[in-house]
Each structure stands twice: as structure tokens, then as C-alpha cells.
């Protein structure tokens, strides 16, 4: 078991810097997810930890051991690849035992450990089969068993669920989560699927262009994103322009929202992130942003609305479906907000004003 420390990591391909300067600390035994759009450098970082990519600057430590110059085969890492990388010429058992055989272990010990992990992943009944006779989910289990059986210090997983269909993905997600907790192994998990990241992780690092945007628990990242990119990348949200005057947010149509924590701030223009479920629609009244319903979609549990505001912006709203008739397109409405949930960013969208120093100290 190890904690992982990455300091000032740099990755370059020729003159092209992919990761300029990256720092992360991953706690012992946690499931740490690197999340970001494709091309953000998350897989690159994972492969730097694994030793398949060179490191152009900085240091990576497992506990107190610097691993930069250790050969991949000596880092004692378990890795699960996107396409599983199951050896097609070996039986399931031989695949799982492969790493142990290379460690020159006694035969009985290999047999015992292999059995244990075949059982843990519930693939004992396939032990003598060839991998090409097995489904994607079963191959995934082999890959996981093969990676874990060598008792690695760290488990690395590169988009392990992206090749599975939707149903299997949900199933394997919980298999991975349970196994990881059972074994208690420090895990770095790469994905571009934010829902998957939310479901599986202890900690998520949101990456963009090789830079970490926000590191935090799933709840923290969803509710108080550090910048507009994180707010829009995680979940769905509406970004509305507004300004702060004496601690009060003023939207178009003159809708005013008073928030205590804005009191200390000087008057400025801001961007607000309001998630679809943070709006409240009312048909009449005198407070709120004026808008016209453009479209609605009934989805059973919820009903989604697209509403065009007075300023021409279309916002997305989700409400729990009610027994009454839905709002029809063309209907004039007033939009209010669940004000404690909304997030306020500076004009550039790079800083969350709600996350004041006092907030961070909590």
C-alpha cells in the first residue's frame, strides 16, 4: 500500500508541452480519479506513473521511493488497460498467474493466490477457458484479477469500462468499487465519463489541457466547482451573466438575489452557474427572470424545460413531474433560484466567489 506524490511533473512531446507543471497527492487506499475531456493529458499522466511514458520534469513518489527511473517491470504496479490487454494465447488461469510466474514464486503459492483472485472476481469456473470465449465483462474481471494478484502497491486503471455496454458498465463499476475497497489498494482511475467518476471515486481531479482544475470529493466538485469549466464539465448547468451590487446579485429583468457571503465583495460583473434543478418556475408573481417556455420533455420522474429568458438566453430547467398539466410552449413564466445552491464566479470564470477563504477553512 502506498500513497502517491507527484511534484512539478512535466510531460513534453518534442516541443509540445502536454503537462506543464502538475502536483497531486493521492492518499493511501483511496480511489483517485483523473477526469477530463479527451486530450486533457489524463492518460498521459497515468502512463507516466506506470512508466510507459517518459517524465520530462518533476518527481513521482510511492511513499518515500522516487520511481522516476525505475523500469516499469519493477515498479510493482497493477494495471488494467482500456482494451484489457488479456493475452489471447493463454488460458484465464495462465493470464492471472503470469505476473506471479515472472516473480519466480513457488508453484503451490502461485496456485493458491491465483485461485484466491479467480474466486474474488468470480471467474473460477472459466479458469481453463481461452479468453476469446469470454464476454467483455468477464475479460474485465480477468484483467482486474491479473492486476491485483501480484499485490501491487498501486492499481492503475485506464478507462476500464469504456468498451462495455451500458448495463455491464454499471455492473462492473460496482465490482471495481467493491474489490478496491476490499483489497484496500491505492487506485488511480482514468475516465472521461463524469457520472462514472462521481459514482466510483473517493477523490476526483478534474483536468483540462494538462492542468488540474479542481481536486475534491464528488460532492464538493458538483456543488462548489472551483471554476466555470468544472461547473460545466461536471453535470449540466446554465451560465448566466449577472453583477454584484452591495452584496446582492442582480440578473436580467432586475431579478435580485441577496447572498450573505457576497457582502465582503466589491461591486463587479460575474458569471453565475445555476444547475437545471436549482431553478424554480412560477407562472405568476413579480420577482424573477422573465422567460417564455420553448420546449418541454416529459421523462417520467422529471420534466425538462427549455426556457428563453428576456435577454435571449436559453436555459435548461428540470422539475419533478407533477400531476398537473405541464407548461406548454409559449407560456410566459418567471424563474427564481434556490439561492444557496447556486455558484458565483468572477467575470473570467476562473474563481468561485462562493468558495471564500472562510469556506475553504471549513
Amino acid at each position: 500500500m502506498s500513497k502517491i506524490l507527484i511534484q512539478n511533473a512535466v510531460k513534453k512531446y518534442g516541443n509540445n508541452t502536454v503537462i506543464p507543471d502538475l502536483n497531486i497527492e493521492i492518499k493511501d487506499g483511496e480511489l483517485f480519479t483523473l477526469l477530463g475531456p479527451s486530450g486533457c493529458g489524463k492518460t498521459t499522466l497515468l502512463r507516466m506513473i506506470a512508466g510507459f511514458n517518459s517524465i520530462e520534469g518533476g518527481d513521482i513518489y510511492f511513499n518515500d521511493t522516487r520511481i522516476n527511473d525505475i523500469d516499469p517491470s519493477r515498479r510493482n504496479i497493477g494495471m488494467v488497460f482500456q482494451n484489457y490487454a488479456i493475452f489471447p494465447h493463454m488460458t484465464v488461469r495462465d493470464n492471472v498467474a503470469f505476473g506471479l510466474k515472472n516473480r519466480k514464486m513457488e508453484k503451490e503459492k502461485i496456485q493458491e493466490l491465483t485461485d484466491k483472485y479467480l474466486q474474488l472476481m468470480q471467474i473460477s469456473q472459466y479458469a481453463t477457458r481461452m479468453p476469446n470465449q469470454l464476454s467483455g465483462g468477464q475479460q474485465q474481471r480477468i484483467a482486474l484479477a491479473r492486476a491485483l494478484v501480484i499485490s501491487p502497491d498501486v492499481l492503475l486503471m485506464d478507462e476500464p469500462l469504456s468498451n462495455l455496454d451500458a448495463k455491464l458498465r454499471l455492473e462492473m463499476r460496482s465490482v471495481i468499487r467493491h474489490t478496491q475497497k476490499n483489497v484496500g489498494i491505492t487506485t488511480v482511475y482514468v475516465t472521461h465519463d463524469q457520472e462514472e467518476a462521481m459514482a466510483i471515486s473517493d477523490t476526483i481531479a478534474v483536468m483540462k489541457d494538462g492542468v488540474i482544475q479542481h481536486v475534491g470529493a464528488p460532492k464538493d466538485i458538483y456543488q462548489r466547482p472551483k471554476n466555470v469549466f468544472v461547473a460545466t464539465f461536471i453535470g449540466r448547468t446554465n451560465i448566466l451573466p449577472a453583477k454584484i451590487e452591495q452584496g446582492t446579485l442582480i440578473f436580467s429583468s432586475g431579478y435580485r438575489v441577496k447572498l450573505d457571503y457576497l457582502d465582503q465583495l466589491e461591486n463587479q460583473e460575474v458569471q453565475c452557474s445555476v444547475r437545471p434543478e436549482e431553478f424554480v418556475i412560477s407562472k405568476q408573481g413579480d420577482e424573477g427572470i422573465h422567460g417564455i417556455v420553448k420546449e418541454y420533455t416529459y421523462l417520467g420522474l422529471n420534466t425538462h424545460y427549455a426556457v428563453e429568458t428576456e435577454s435571449g438566453l436559453t436555459v435548461e430547467i428540470v422539475e419533478e413531474s407533477s400531476l398537473e398539466d405541464e407548461l406548454k410552449p409559449g407560456q410566459n413564466v418567471l424563474l427564481q433560484m434556490k439561492k444557496h445552491k447556486i455558484n458565483v464566479f468572477d467575470k473570467e470564470g476562473s474563481r468561485n466567489l462562493v468558495r471564500s477563504e472562510a469556506y475553504e477553512r471549513q
Partner: protein, 551 residues
């Protein structure tokens, strides 16, 4: 989708029947005739097993079988042992001059094998340049003639096939498999033997079969360098040539035995490779890396040395073609006299070497595309028959096919022997299986829905085929055709049986000149052949862009 698996007498049904008719006439009939000859006593007109008894009772004949087996097996093992590591080094390391080495390897594999044999005699034979050099400084080199020489020439000639096959297979290995192995503490040489080799084993088996078949059927090499070491095709040839006009039952019997053996080898290979078949599909192929300083020297030494030795025979033959000759003997100084006499005596054979393969090539391409379409898109009992028929030449040695065609078409109304047509037919039959395989592979990658879209827009069956399917296959077909062309211009074992003065090809001319001792002319002719090969390969490269050679 319509059910295409039932036979209907539409345009494709007609094509199927025509193709079967062609195979019946030019393959099944001659082979059957050959078989009949082997068990037919010309004097009494009775059934007899005398020919087979004669073969197996005299060790003089039977030993040739063992010899052939030993030679082919040794050449196969050696080719795999050289070709596989070389392909691996080429796939994992950046090596300067790799593309040139690649072309040289292909050129080495595309030359007629007996030219290699002839050139190695010039280098390592009794009065060879290298032998004489070492003798002067007091070292006696081992004898090149016989078993060792045959295996040396064949391995150097055929390892490129393994190399090309293995290169193709290595491209299908996903990098993550190698990384997974590294990650589980398995790297370097260990990784090569425990992961890479097993992964490409099906391909190595296929390449091994090809090498075995080629060396088993090779006539020129053992004829020139074998001396006392007699192999199957040599005996077959000499028996047949000796007995033309008399009783060729014995030659026919030897031919039948040869086919039985190649069939058995073919089936064994099929059985083994079916047992460890698995699909490889690389999302990210293996990346080439700069070799580390320590390894670098070894990597370069191995790659360059192997290629240099493989290409040496052709370089040396080309060199001797510019030497001055006096009568049949090379003398000091250089001249173009060999070329002059080559052109004055052999002008016709150069023309034949272009015309005969060109005619064959057109027929091959047309037939291969049609058959591939039938096999892939109209699968039914009859088209499966076409598929199986088209694979038969794969296991029939060239000399045997030559004899079968010659004896089969030696009397009226099917009097074809001595004509150019029979040479064309022989090449078509021999090369077709390879072109069909590659066309099938191309066609399988084109989704049926594209053709269905064309049909739904009102195009007729033939229009769909020629206006939609064929153009999409075109690039693959053209590059396949060029490679077929190159192998056809260096074909010897069938041509040596079928040629007459009028239909002599370059390879036959080189062979006869070597046998006569006209080394200067032979060298000039084989240099012309090499030049033709190189030009064809350059055209291939141009047409094919950055894609690789596959056979």
C-alpha cells in the same frame, strides 16, 4: 437482405459454373490424367501399382523423399529463426535505413532461387572467390555442395517470407499487451519468447507452411548446388525428361507421392493453427523506440548483416555480369559483352518474360476478383467448391503441375503443349490461390450495406459489382497484382517443364545458360531479371503509398 446462400442461375450463378468449368479443364482433368498414368501400364493397358512399388523399393528413389523432407524442414526452421527476430527488431526499434533494408529484403525474396544457388557457387564453391581467398591464407572452408548448401540458399531466399508475414502480424499486436507483460515483470528477450512469439504463432505457422512448400517444390537450387544430394523435384524432373515419349508412368507416380506429402503437411499445419487461433486487433500498434546504447550496436549489426548476406548473391551476380569474358571464362577487366550476347541470343526470352506473365496477370486479376466475390458474398455449396478447387494448386508443386499439364494436353483435341497458352494457364493456376486469398481479405472489409445501397438505388448486379465493389477493392487489387507479377517473372519450376524454344522465359534462359556453363550470359540475364524485379517493386511502392508488402 436477400438469401444469397441458395444457388440461382443468375449472372453470378453463370460465373460460378464457368469458373468450375475452367478448373475442371485445366486443373482437375490434368491431375486426374496424371493419377491415371501413375497406375496404368502402357503395354498391357492394365491397372498396375508397379510404379509405386518401384519407388518405395529402391532406396535410390525413396531416399530423395527423405532428403527433400530434411532439406525443407531445415530451411523452414532456419527461415523462421532468422525472419522472426528480424521482424521483431524492425517493429520495436527505430533503425536508420530501415526502408531501404525493407526493399532489399523483398528483392532478395523475389529473385529466382536458383540464381542464389548459382551465385553462392561462384562465392563459396570449389573455385569460388571466397573459398580461394581463404585457401590462400590457409583456411579450408566447409563444402558448400549438398545438404548444407541447399539449406543455406533456401533459408536465405525464404526467410524474407517469414519476415514479411511476421511484420504484418506484429502490426496487429496491441502495444498494451507488451505493456501488460512489462508491467507484470516480463520484458526484453523473455517477453519476446513468452508473449510475442506465441501471439504471432498462427502467422509463423502459415509462413512456415509456405516456406516448407516452396523449398519442397524448389527444383533449381538442389539441381545446381545439390550435386550428389538428390531431392524429389530433381528426380521427378530427370525421370520425366528421360522418359518423355516412353512410359511416363513412373514420373506420374512420383508426382502423386509428392502431392500426397504436401497435402499431409498442409493438413497438419491447418490442424495445428486451428487449435491455437485467436483474433488480434491492435488499437495502438507497437511503437518503435530508439534502441539503448548498449543494444544499439547489436541491433544494427544483426539487421544489416542478415540483409547483406541475403542480398549478396544478387549483387555478386550483377557484378560478374559486367566482367570481361573470353569464351565461357571470366577474365580480368570489365565489358558489356555479356549483355551483348545476352540480347542477341536471348532477346525473345526477355519478351516472353513480359508477355506471358502479363497475359496471366490479367486473367488472374479478373478471376480472383470474381471468385472472391462469389466466395464472400454468394456463399453456397457450389461457390464453396470453387473456393476449395482454387486452393488445390497451393499444395501441388510447380514441377508436378507442369508435368500434369504437359501430359494432359499432349494429344488432340486438346493439343496445347508447346504453345504459349499452356505457359499462361500454368501461371494462372499456380498464382491464383494467393491472389484470391488477398482479394477475399479485401472484400471482407467492405460492408455489404454499400452494395445494398447501390441496389436499392436501382443499379443492376453487374453494375454494382463493376461500378461499386471493384473500385473499392481497386487499390488492394493493384498492389496484389504487382506482387503476383514479380513472383511470376521469376517462376522456374513449371516453365522448365513446359517451355519450348519459342516460349523460353528469362529464368529458363538463365538456368539453361548456367547448365551450359555460359556464366557471363547467365549473369547478364539474371541482372536484367533483377532489374525488372526492382522496377516492379518501386512501382508497387509508388502505387501502394506507405502500406507494406504482403504476400
Amino acid at each position: 437482405m436477400k438469401d444469397n446462400s441458395k444457388f440461382r442461375l443468375d449472372i453470378w450463378g453463370t460465373v460460378t459454373l464457368c469458373t468450375i468449368a475452367v478448373y475442371l479443364l485445366f486443373l482437375i482433368y490434368p491431375m486426374a490424367h496424371l493419377m491415371q498414368q501413375s497406375v496404368y501400364d502402357a503395354q498391357t493397358g492394365q491397372f498396375t501399382m508397379a510404379n509405386f512399388v518401384k519407388f518405395f523399393s529402391k532406396s535410390y528413389y525413396f531416399d530423395t523423399l527423405l532428403n527433400s523432407f530434411k532439406v525443407s524442414l531445415a530451411a523452414t526452421v532456419l527461415s523462421i529463426a532468422i525472419g522472426t527476430p528480424l521482424a521483431y527488431l524492425f517493429s520495436v526499434f527505430k533503425i536508420r535505413g530501415k526502408s531501404v533494408l525493407n526493399i532489399l529484403i523483398v528483392v532478395a525474396s523475389m529473385s529466382a532461387p536458383f540464381i542464389g544457388a548459382y551465385s553462392w557457387i561462384l562465392l563459396l564453391g570449389r573455385s569460388g572467390v571466397v573459398t580461394v581467398f581463404f585457401r590462400k591464407i590457409g583456411i579450408v572452408l566447409p563444402d558448400i555442395y549438398g545438404f548444407g548448401g541447399i539449406v543455406l540458399v533456401m533459408s536465405l531466399q525464404l526467410f524474407p517470407l517469414v519476415f514479411l508475414y511476421a511484420r504484418g502480424a506484429l502490426k496487429n499486436i496491441d502495444n498494451s499487451l507488451i505493456e501488460a507483460a512489462n508491467n507484470l515483470s516480463c520484458s526484453g528477450v523473455k517477453c519476446f519468447f513468452k508473449v510475442v512469439v506465441p501471439l504471432i504463432m498462427p502467422t509463423l505457422l502459415a509462413a512456415g507452411l509456405l516456406v516448407f512448400m516452396r523449398s519442397f517444390a524448389d527444383f533449381g537450387t538442389p539441381m545446381l548446388i545439390g550435386e550428389g544430394y538428390r531431392t524429389f523435384p530433381v528426380v521427378l524432373y530427370t525421370e520425366f525428361i528421360n522418359e518423355v515419349g516412353g512410359n511416363d508412368g513412373f514420373a506420374a507416380a512420383i508426382a502423386i507421392i509428392a502431392i500426397v506429402i504436401t497435402t499431409v503437411v498442409f493438413l497438419i499445419q491447418k490442424y495445428i493453427s486451428n487449435r491455437n487461433a485467436f483474433a488480434l486487433n491492435a488499437l495502438h500498434p507497437i511503437e518503435e523506440q530508439e534502441p539503448r546504447a548498449g543494444k544499439k550496436l547489436l541491433v544494427y549489426l544483426f539487421s544489416y548483416l542478415v540483409v547483406a548476406v541475403a542480398i549478396l548473391p544478387q549483387v555478386y551476380v550483377t557484378y560478374t555480369s559486367f566482367k570481361k569474358t573470353s569464351g565461357k571464362i571470366f577474365v580480368r577487366g570489365y565489358s558489356l559483352s555479356s549483355y551483348e550476347s545476352a540480347f542477341s541470343k536471348m532477346g525473345k526470352s526477355i519478351q516472353n518474360t513480359i508477355v506471358i506473365p502479363f497475359l496471366s496477370l490479367n486473367a488472374i486479376v479478373l478471376l480472383a476478383v470474381l471468385i472472391a466475390y462469389l466466395v464472400v458474398r454468394r456463399r453456397n455449396a457450389l461457390t464453396s467448391t470453387v473456393d476449395i478447387l482454387s486452393m488445390i494448386p497451393y499444395i501441388v508443386p510447380g514441377t508436378v503441375l507442369g508435368i500434369a499439364l504437359l501430359t494432359g494436353f499432349n494429344q488432340k483435341p486438346l493439343m496445347l503443349s508447346g504453345t504459349m497458352l499452356i505457359m499462361v494457364v500454368a501461371l494462372i493456376i499456380r498464382r491464383l490461390p494467393y491472389t484470391i486469398r488477398s482479394s477475399v481479405a479485401i472484400l471482407q472489409q467492405i460492408p455489404v450495406s454499400i452494395e445494398e445501397a447501390a441496389v436499392s438505388l436501382g443499379a443492376s448486379k453487374m453494375k454494382v459489382f463493376f461500378r461499386v465493389t471493384v473500385p473499392m477493392m481497386a487499390a488492394g487489387i493493384v498492389s496484389g497484382a504487382i506482387l503476383s507479377w514479380v513472383t511470376m517473372i521469376s517462376e522456374l519450376s513449371t516453365a522448365i517443364i513446359l517451355y519450348t524454344g519459342k516460349t523460353k522465359t528469362l529464368t529458363v534462359a538463365v538456368y539453361t545458360e548456367v547448365v551450359r556453363g555460359n556464366y557471363g550470359v547467365a549473369a547478364a540475364l539474371s541482372s536484367i531479371l533483377t532489374l525488372l524485379t526492382v522496377i516492379s517493386l518501386l512501382v508497387f511502392n509508388k502505387v501502394n503509398g506507405r502500406r507494406d508488402f504482403s504476400l
